[in-house]
């Protein structure tokens, strides 16, 4: 790792330069160089990654600005195909950016890839673990590749296996592991060199609720020990529970970024979801509109952000009843990340009644 002062240098340099450029009485213009601190473990500026060309051009990552601070758990939330993995691949040097730049652990991902690799731990979403090797063999291999002295590796390997609960399975071939065991081994593998920055691409997708909680706990523990974590997820709850800050990505663009609590507060009003008979939908929609802005819902429902807060529910019901609209189902939700997502993208990530 670079020592702090060295990494601070560019920032001081830039500020000095800018102050020299500015004439007396002139104000600083807010710009990316000043606002993004190079000391942050993950900084992406205008990051773009395309695939293909011409008609088949896919803008997988389309201008992403990110800054993850030291010691944070940063949640990268988005639906399938949003560009989460592509962003992670670029940040972990597995893909080159088409435009823009990024530094990880203080090193440029494009020009100092090898330094980045030594500083970070990576658990990819779909990088298979060689099924023919045992957990222990894979840890040994990983240790050699990261240049860890054998004396250190022989101590740390068993510790890591213990930590992820794989001691008993350590000498079994990975091909016989369950999905949850593989994920845990994957985590252990990403930790052999005690990285300061950890990337976890959908670490809990496909895990049962129990295993998910175990993994969350492990991520929290690593974070308490000082590891900065960027994790991607499709689960609102995971982002909400685990992350200090989140970014919501959709179609390659970050549409919201911040502390979950603040983002929810920005949505403000609670959402009322109702379910009515088909012939009454239009009428009900007209009535709901009087109480606030309509919000996206999952199929066959109506949703409104109650401008007057939860107290308005009684009048909504009364008005619907007076109009002869039969309400089959009703649900009031405090602002959630789901609402944040819906407000930002115009659709819901999961069922609205989740």
């Amino acid at each position: 790792m670079l020592p702090g002062p060295c990494r601070m240098a560019p920032s001081t340099f830039v500020t000095e330069r800018l102050s020299r450029l500015a004439r007396p009485g002139q104000e600083f213009v807010e710009c990316n160089i000043v606002t993004t601190s190079p000391s942050a473990p993950i900084v992406a500026t205008g990051l773009v990654r395309h695939f293909g060309s011409g008609d088949s051009l896919v803008r997988a990552v389309d201008g992403v600005d990110l800054q993850v601070e030291a010691g944070e758990i940063f949640g990268f939330l988005g639906p399938n195909g949003a560009g989460k993995s592509t962003t992670v691949r670029v940040l972990t040097t597995l893909l080159k950016p088409s435009a823009g730049s990024a530094t990880v652990a203080g090193f440029d991902v494009a020009t100092q890839a090898d330094k980045v690799r030594r500083a970070i731990g990576v658990a990819l979403q779909d990088a298979a673990i060689d099924p023919l090797m045992t957990g222990r063999e894979l840890l040994d291999l990983q240790s050699v590749l990261y240049g860890i002295p054998k004396s250190v590796a022989t101590k740390r390997g068993p510790e890591l296996l213990e930590r992820v609960g794989l001691t008993a399975a350590a000498d079994r071939r990975v091909g016989t592991y369950s999905g949850g065991m593989r994920r845990r081994l994957d985590l252990a593998l990403s930790l052999v060199h005690e990285p300061s920055v950890l990337f976890l691409d959908e670490p809990t997708t496909g895990l049962d609720p129990m295993s998910r909680l175990t993994l969350w706990e492990e991520v929290r523990r690593l974070n308490r020990e000082g590891t900065t974590v960027l994790l991607t997820t499709q689960y609102l709850e995971e982002a909400d529970q685990l992350a200090d800050r989140i970014a919501i990505i959709d179609h390659g663009k970050i549409v919201r970024q911040g502390v979950p609590r603040d983002l929810k507060a920005q949505v403000g009003s609670p959402t009322l979801f109702i379910d009515v008979d088909g012939e009454h939908v239009d009428m009900a929609r007209g009535i709901l509109e009087r109480f606030g802005d309509l919000r996206p819902t999952s199929e066959g429902k109506l949703g409104v952000g109650l401008a007057q807060g939860a107290e308005a529910v009684a009048s909504v019901i009364r008005t619907l009843d007076e109009a002869g609209v039969h309400v089959r189902h009703l649900e009031l939700n405090e602002p959630s990340l789901d609402d944040v997502f819906a407000e930002a993208t115009g659709y819901r990530l999961e069922g609205a009644d989740q």
């Binding site: 972990t92 597995l94 893909l95 080159k96 690799r117 298979a128 673990i129 040994d140 590749l145 240049g147």
Partner: protein, 261 residues
């Protein structure tokens, strides 16, 4: 990247690949069984050519004659299969896992080639032990034995290099396995299974042009003739030359794949 870590990385990846080979008996066994089976079949059905009076100039017995062909066949088969494992790595994502680490990039390729060579050394030794047990004898003695083992290793390097290049280029185990019949055809158009002296017409012309004939004949020399520098030139230098070209092809494919990321 220091050459020390390149060697270390190649060594651990070689060990990993060898383990992988040994743990897939279904993939490895055919390269041991088929050549020996063909040799046994040949001894039973072609051995009449050994009755020709001029055969003595080629080999003391059909069994002795068949050794080199069996070795070449087995080594080419096993080396293709080793390169197939590299394609599987790429297809299933282990390759990407390696790329995420500070591994010396070339070691990913060289580790595969290393494992093919290790397997070939073991394979040639086992083959020779079996043939000797059935009555074959190495005319050039211990030096010939070493000559054959080294030739097998170099041939493995050449073949796994070519096929690994293809594996890296295509990223598909099917493409690699699909290329094997071509190698098999090349073998049939050589003196691996039938002496070139007994061929006629275009068959003989093709076999004479086919470098495989000369590798096989170099190896047959170790088995059947007095020690001769020509044996080393053909059994070692030809595979070595092909191996160097193959490694260049493999590295180029690797660099291309990495550049396209």
């Amino acid at each position: 990247m220091s050459s020390g870590s390149a060697i270390l990385h190649t060594a651990v990846l070689t060990r990993r690949s060898v383990r992988g080979r040994l743990r897939q008996p279904a993939a490895l066994t055919p390269s041991f069984v088929f050549p020996l089976f063909f040799a046994a079949l040949g001894s039973a059905s072609f051995s009449r050519i050994a009755d020709r009076p001029d055969f003595a100039a080629i080999a003391p017995s059909f069994l002795n004659y068949a050794v080199a062909g069996a070795i070449v066949q087995g080594v080419l088969f096993a080396s293709t299969s080793a390169a197939g494992d590299l394609a599987t790595d790429i297809e299933q994502g282990f390759f990407e896992r390696l790329l995420a680490s500070p591994v010396t990039r070339t070691s990913i390729l060289l580790g595969r080639l290393g494992s093919a060579m290790v397997v070939a050394v073991v394979q040639v030794t086992i083959f020779l032990a079996i043939f000797l047990a059935f009555g074959a004898r190495i005319e050039t003695g211990v030096i010939g034995f070493i000559g054959l083992v080294v030739a097998g290793a170099l041939l493995a390097l050449a073949m796994s290099g070519l096929m690994s290049g293809l594996a890296i280029k295509s990223g598909s185990p099917e493409v690699v396995q699909g290329a094997f019949p071509m190698v098999f055809a090349l073998m049939f158009l050589s003196s691996a299974f039938f002496p070139r002296q007994y061929m006629t017409g275009w068959y003989q012309d093709v076999a004479t042009w086919n470098p495989m004939s000369h590798v096989v004949e170099g190896m047959q020399g170790f088995m059947n003739q007095p020690l001769n520098v020509d044996q080393f030139l053909r059994a070692w230098l030809i595979p070595l030359g092909i191996a160097l070209a193959a490694i260049a092809f493999g590295l180029r494919s690797l660099n291309k794949r990495l550049a396209a990321l």
